[in-house]
């Protein structure tokens, strides 16, 4: 599984060549990352046609800004994922996303735990540590952060989903993030 994953070095190379208007390199970059990034967006926007729109906009954006990547300090997959997530969150806001399929959330989260880490995220070490640090959170904190990150739930959607007051959910998130930061700060 992991040996099939694109490595960060290759992705960085392809991004650099895309920055010089190399369309072949860009096509390969897309081929290597599309299914991961599509899945990331689909989780958040929940509708395939919206996720397709996000992927399209994001890759046009990646093409146009590929030359800026060199100055970013992040791993290529982190950089691209951030672009896709941000665009997804824009669209969610635009279309007034509604909660659906509640049971799905937890099923998906459970399934995800079983999937091998992806080398494309380069930071195997960091990936391990963010997951290790997530494990150290209290259950409510972990759940609210995972729902927000993977499914793009807002504070009020989280409150509704977790059947807790808004203030309580905000506190889970705030404290969870602080603990993550402490934990990841040590790992760095």
């Amino acid at each position: 599984m992991s040996e099939l994953a694109p490595d960060a070095q290759r992705l960085a190379e392809l991004l650099a060549r895309s920055g010089m208007s190399d369309r072949k390199a860009f096509a390969e970059l897309y081929a290597l990352t599309r299914s991961k990034l599509f899945a990331v967006s689909l989780r958040i926007v929940r509708e395939r046609h919206l996720a397709e729109e996000v992927l399209q906009d994001s890759f046009v954006n990646i093409w146009n800004h590929a030359r800026d990547y060199a100055s970013a300090k992040s791993a290529p997959m982190t950089w691209m994922t951030a672009i896709v997530r941000n665009r997804s969150l824009d669209i969610v806001r635009r279309t007034g996303w509604e909660m659906q399929d509640d049971d799905d959330f937890m099923t998906n989260s459970l399934e995800d735990g079983a999937v091998a880490l992806d080398d494309a995220f380069e930071m195997k070490r960091d990936a391990h540590s963010v997951h290790r640090c997530m494990d150290e959170l209290e259950a409510d904190q972990r759940q609210s952060i995972a729902l927000a990150f993977f499914h793009g739930l807002s504070h009020s959607e989280l409150a509704e989903h977790m059947k807790k007051p808004l203030g309580t959910v905000k506190t889970h998130i705030r404290r969870g993030l602080l603990r993550l930061k402490d934990c990841l700060g040590q790992a760095a």
């Binding site: 599509f38 899945a39 399209q56 300090k73 997530r85 995800d112």
Partner: protein
Amino acid sequence: MKYSHPDLREALAASYVLGTLRGAARRRFVRLLTADQSLSTVVEKWEHYLTPLAARVKPIDPPARVWRAIEARIARGQVAAASMPEAGSSFWDSLAFWRNWGLAATGLAAALMIATVVIKPQPPAESAMVAVLSTPENVPRMIVEKHSGMLKVKVVQAWASLPENDLELWVVPKEGAPRSLGVVSYAKDSEVRRGNLDNLLADGAAFAISKEPKGGSPSGAPTGPILCSGSIAKMPVKT
């Protein structure tokens, strides 16, 4: 709200990356980000922290049409950049002309009469060619790319089935009548291979697709409506 307090900056950056910062607050934060380098650094740190979580999302393949649309949008950008008007540039450079041309009732003959007044030096032979063919409504439908010895005609958006007709690809030279390059598929990508392709394309200014009877135009000139067209951008060959 005061954005200068370090704890607040940290908290906002974290909820921006997590995704819980929404609506007007998110838009405001994005505006701040572009102006504040140190805030960007805090955001990058949080992206570095949280984004690896996405490594566990199970991949799902997007449909092929997404890539087609991306390619079309990128090619359009390149065409725009490559055909920036230069001194004395011809109307051929104007995509707008081509988009309107297809519907012009006066048709090809009139257009070609105007074309004859255009005199422009030939670009160097060593160049790649690409054209995005759009409908009169400015919807990109096909892409034509020159590869060594052949043309690739890609379908951005398939046409409705044409049981009685074929699509025919034309190269329109700067002067003279359009030359047929052959019949292409309405639904999938085609390759056009002609022995004398380089000669046919030598002074090509645009590509156009017309609707013709089965087997292509019987007369050697376009007989049906021009469905889409686009001027050719020539770009230096990448090394």
